[in-house]
Symmetry: C2
Subunit: 306 residues, 2 copies
C-alpha cells in the first residue's frame, strides 16, 4: 500500500468581510457579545459568488503557490460541503470542467460539517490501494445563504474554501483515521434542502467537548503516539469555547483561526492547514491530527505525517 | 489487502405501479409510444414515502432474506442518490439511527445517476485496506418528485431502492474498477436543488452508447478477462435502446429489467443484482461487470467475482 503526502494547499475567502461588531450593532446585541461567546472577530460572506466560485478560488490559490502542479494530471477530485448548489452535475464535476481536466474520477461527499475528514480519508484509501496517484480534496461551504431561526446560531458562521493536493509517496508515512457516526441526536444540528439550518447549541457543545476527546484519545492509542509529539491538532473551527475545552481535556497543541473566519463547516480544516503551511509552521515528518465533528452526528480524526 | 464478497442484497419498490399505457392515455401519446421508445412497461412512483422510507424498505428486504446478518455489526453505511431530502443529517446517518446501529462510518455520495458505482468502489477500498470489515451500500432515488420540462424525459423514470451488504473475505476474489468523469457536456443531464431535471436525450444517447463501450473494453483489457467469460454485464437501466446498442457493440451478456421498473438512477444496479441473486442466476466465482453512466458526465464499471 502507498503512503500519502500533502504536496500543496490553498484557501479562498470571499471579499465581503463582516465584523462581529457590525452584527452586534445591527442586531441590538451588547458590545463584545459575539467575541466573548464565540471567539470570532470577523468572517467573510459571499455576495455574488457561488460554491463553485469559492472552490475555484482556493484551487487557484493552491496553483499560484505551487507552480509545479499540473491539474491535467489529477486523477481524482473530491469535495465536501453541506451547501451544494446542484444535484447533478455536482460540484467536483463542475471543477473538472472549469479546469479543463480531460478525465479523472469525481465525487462529492455529504457527511455534515465533518465531511472534509471523510473526503480526505476516501482519497487516502484510493492512493493507498494504488487506484490513483494523486487527489485534489476540497472543502467548501457558503453558510451565509442558510436561513437561521436564531441570531445566536447565525453569528457563528462564515463562508470559505480550502483544498489539499495529495500524492502517493514511496516514503513510509504514518496515517491513521478514526471516523464514526453516532446514532443518537441527529436532530441537534440539521439543514434541509431549503437551506434552513437549525442548531441546538447546548447539545452540540456537549457532544463536541466529550466525544471529540474520546476520539483523540482513541487515535493516540491506536497510533501508539503521544499527544505531546503531535505538532498540531487542527480541529474543525466551531467555537472557541469548544476548542479551549478540548485542549484542556487532551493537552493538545491546537491551531485555531476561528477569530478571523468564524465557523466555515467543511472548509475550516483545509483553510487552517493552508495557513500553517504558509507560515512554515509544519515541517517534513511532523505529525498532525485533523479533527472533524458536527451534524450527523459525525465525528472523525486523522493522524498523519506531513 | 482484503477481497470483498457480496453476502446479501435487497430491493424495494413503492406500491404505486404506473403503467406506460396509462401515461400514454393521460398525455395523448400514441399507443405503445413509450414501450417502443424506451422498453418500459411499468414503473413505481412513491406516493407518501420519502427517500429514507425507500432505503429502509430495501434494507428490510435484505434482512428478511438473510437472517444471519446483524446490522449492529455494520462498520460502514454508504448511500448514492440524486434526490436527497436533507443536507444534514444526510441519508446514511438517518439509516443508522433508524436501525439503531450504535457506531459506524456514514457517508453519502453525490456523483450523478452513476453514483452507485462510486459508492460501491469506496466501500471496496475501505474493506481492501482493512479499515472496515463490512459495508452496507444503498442506491436510492425518487425521480417522480422531479419536475420535467418534457414528457418524453419524464416517461423514462421510476422510483426505487436497492442495496448490497459486502464483507471482507480471505478468499482471493477478482475486483477491478474503471471510473472516470468527462469534462465536456456536463449540461446535457442536470438536476438542481429544486428538483428540476433536464435531459438532452440525443446527446445522452450518444454518450451512453460510445463511452460505455470504451469503458467495458478497457476493463476487460485491464482484468485480462474475456467478455464471453463474464456471466452478466449489469448496467444502469437507462433505456432499452441504449442497452441493446451496448450489447451489440461489446458482445456482452446483459441483464435488463427496465421493462418492469423504468430508469431508477442510483437504484438500478443494486435492484438488478438483487433480482439475479433471487433467481439463483449467479453462483460463487461467477464474474460480473457492473456498469454505471450518467449525469456529470460520470462513467464507471466494476468487474468483480461473486
Amino acid at each position: 500500500m502507498n503512503s500519502i503526502k500533502i504536496v500543496a494547499t490553498g484557501r479562498y475567502l470571499p471579499k465581503n468581510e463582516v465584523k462581529s461588531e457590525d452584527i452586534e450593532n445591527q442586531n441590538n446585541l451588547e458590545k463584545e457579545y459575539i467575541k466573548k461567546r464565540t471567539g470570532i472577530d470577523t468572517r467573510y460572506y459571499s455576495t455574488n459568488e457561488d460554491l463553485e466560485d469559492l472552490a475555484i478560488g482556493c484551487i487557484k490559490d493552491l496553483l499560484n503557490k505551487n507552480k509545479n502542479i499540473d491539474l491535467n494530471d489529477t486523477d481524482m477530485i473530491i469535495t465536501a460541503s453541506t451547501t451544494y448548489d446542484d444535484m447533478m452535475p455536482s460540484l467536483s464535476f463542475k471543477i473538472q470542467e472549469y479546469f479543463n481536466i480531460e478525465k479523472c474520477m469525481c465525487l462529492d461527499v455529504l457527511a455534515g460539517c465533518s465531511g472534509y475528514i471523510n473526503a480526505l480519508d476516501i482519497a487516502q484509501k484510493y492512493i493507498a490501494t494504488l487506484t490513483v496517484k494523486n487527489a485534489l480534496v476540497i472543502g467548501v461551504d457558503i453558510l451565509s445563504k442558510n436561513k437561521y431561526d436564531d441570531i445566536k446560531t447565525k453569528i457563528l458562521f462564515g463562508d470559505g474554501a480550502g483544498c489539499i493536493y495529495l500524492e502517493a509517496t514511496n516514503e513510509k508515512k504514518e496515517y491513521v483515521s478514526n471516523i464514526k457516526s453516532f446514532k443518537d441526536s441527529n436532530n441537534i444540528l440539521t439543514c434541509n434542502m431549503e437551506h434552513e439550518l437549525f442548531m441546538n447549541g447546548k447539545e452540540v457543545y456537549k457532544f463536541a467537548t466529550s466525544k471529540t476527546v474520546e476520539n483523540i484519545n482513541e487515535i493516540i492509542e491506536k497510533s501508539k503516539e503521544k499527544i505531546e509529539d503531535i505538532k498540531f491538532v487542527i480541529p474543525h473551527q466551531s467555537n472557541i469555547k469548544i476548542l479551549e475545552k478540548i485542549c484542556k481535556k487532551t493537552g493538545a497543541n491546537m491551531y485555531t483561526n476561528i477569530k478571523r473566519y468564524g465557523n466555515t463547516f467543511c472548509a475550516s480544516i483545509p483553510i487552517a492547514l493552508d495557513e500553517l503551511f504558509e507560515m512554515n509552521a509544519l515541517n517534513e515528518n511532523d505529525k498532525i491530527i485533523l479533527l472533524g465533528y458536527g451534524g450527523g452526528l459525525n465525528l472523525g480524526s486523522i493522524l498523519m505525517e506531513v
